[in-house]
Amino acid sequence: MSDAARLLAEIHAARALVRDGLRDAEASARPDHARLWAHATRAPHGPVDLATVRAIRSDPTTGRRYRTMLGAVALAHAPLAAAASDGAIVRRRVGAYALEILEAADGAPPLLVLRGEAGQMPRVIEAWLDDETARLDLGAATEGAVVLALDPAVPDAALLGRMLRDPACAVFLL
């Protein structure tokens, strides 16, 4: 073997070692099951573990694990709007629940109405669109429906409304 060939082989071997080391480091930095569980069951507007949030957003594997866990604990979830749509949607089904956005004129904020056919109503909604997420408390139901104001003055509510209009938005009802 010539020197050039040997040098090339050593470079490849060194790169493989570095790559494996990085993979091990990433794996060890991933949040464990308990941290993901704590994040999935947190109260809206409660404190969050920023390392977990960063891992969920930046690491596709962790993100998938988290959303799988969220789907398991959710009363209902939908990864996409059920019907194909070429524009903003104002109505979609999530399991046994129906979400509808009531648009309004003359400056009134849109309202999000969640109706349920099942007896138990969810307490929390979490929406995911790409790496954006919003989690809001749903409050108590009145006459079988929960109403939220998607008020532009409330950043989280406005973000939720914007995300829900996108058919690619995943919705979890907890």
Partner: protein, 376 residues
């Protein structure tokens, strides 16, 4: 005519709240109350829904539940029912088309009211901490120096002192009748001085009107002077209730039968309904004639009656009652454009159904219903 903007104040012991908006929201399952800066309904939103719901005070007064509204306040509070009177007054004003001001700067009239109501919208006497509430509202009232001030003080231990405190504000204050919400609204509309208004409230809700312009300059008597604004039919469920839309006028039934055509589909001699249903034989059509009123002549439910063909004039579509739809196979469009309802074998029993014509574009029925009976 420009109507004055009314700022509805909901006084609390932590300071005044302002009613920012009260809007009808079609599609909302129940009325909901929100505060600025919060996306969730207020803790007492369910109580507000009951106030407006079927069987509630507002529905009893109006004769129908009001359309679900979104109520928006400048803030919230923890407990109490004294929000009921100002909210009921706001509903009355909105129902008659009066604009509400969202801020003191926009207000031509400040409506200050507190108290709880019973099922008849009577204001319940009680200790509503009137002095404390008035003291906390002085700065808000001062923000609108040109606005007139109308006040509803419920009966209670502090009422006399509260009247004195209002006089000390140095404003022209009009005291509204405090026995009920309709009386207070009537008092708002009355052109008399306050005492006269309390003694003889106008009889009709629809006479409530708040006029254009000259609010600040002319004072309350001028503010509330002009006449009827809300056209509406008579026949309210309560004497002072808001007007409701007209029912279908009598005499339209004769025209209905011309808009909707009903014909029996009978099997011809030597054939059967089975052959007709499968297209082997064409059915015989026998138009059903209209009788007096809104009834069609009854059809005999003999074995050769295979079904009914129902059509309407161009631009209209027919709405058939569930009784016939349940007893028939899914409707099919016949060659002449009418809908064919072929009776199911197991459902050939006496039945009465209704049919009406509605515009193609949706909306209310263009006329009343026709009733048709199939009898053995």
């Amino acid at each position: 005519m420009t109507r004055p903007a009314i700022l509805v104040v909901v006084p609390t012991t932590r300071g005044p709240l302002v009613l920012r908006a009260l809007r009808p929201r079609p599609g909302l399952p129940a009325p909901a109350a929100f505060a600025d800066g919060d996306y969730r309904p207020l803790p007492w939103s369910a109580d507000y829904a009951r106030l407006c719901g079927a069987g509630g005070p507002l529905a009893r007064w109006m004769g129908r539940p009001p359309e679900p509204h979104e109520l928006r306040l400048s803030g919230s509070f923890d407990a109490g029912r004294s929000w009921e009177v100002p909210v009921c007054l706001a509903h009355g004003l909105v129902e008659s088309g009066h604009p509400l001001a969202a801020t003191p700067a926009e207000a031509d009239l400040i409506l200050w009211a507190t108290g709880a109501v019973d099922l008849d919208l009577s204001v319940l006497p009680g200790d509503y901490a009137l002095l404390d509430k008035i003291a906390r509202c002085t700065s808000l009232i001062a923000e609108a120096p040109g606005a007139a001030l109308a006040v509803l003080l419920p009966e209670g231990p502090q009422r006399a002192e509260a009247e004195a405190a209002l006089r000390d504000l140095g404003r022209d204050v009009r005291l509204l009748p405090s026995d009920s919400v309709p009386a207070a609204l009537a008092g708002l509309a009355a052109p008399q001085r306050p005492q006269q208004a309390a003694a003889s409230p106008p009889p009709r809700w629809r006479r409530l009107a708040l006029p254009a312009g000259a609010v600040a300059a002319a004072g309350l008597a001028g503010v509330l002077a002009l006449g009827a604004t809300r056209p509406g039919p008579e026949g309210d469920p309560r004497r002072d209730a808001p007007a409701v839309p007209d029912e279908t006028p009598a005499g339209t039934e004769a025209r209905i039968a011309q808009r909707v055509h009903v014909a029996e589909l009978r099997a011809p001699a030597g054939s059967s309904c089975r052959r007709v249903a499968f297209g082997a034989d064409p059915p015989e059509r026998r138009p059903v004639r209209a009788e007096a009123g809104d009834r069609l002549a009854a059809s005999r439910l003999t074995p050769d009656l295979c079904g009914l063909a129902i059509g309407a004039e161009p631009g209209l579509r027919v709405q058939v009652g569930a009784e016939l739809r349940d007893a028939a196979l899914p409707a099919i469009r016949l060659a002449d454009g009418t809908l064919g309802y072929f009776l199911r074998e197991g459902a050939r029993q006496n039945l009465v159904y209704t049919v009406q014509a509605v515009p193609e574009a949706g909306g209310p029925a263009s006329a009343g219903r026709l009733v048709h009976a199939l009898t053995r």
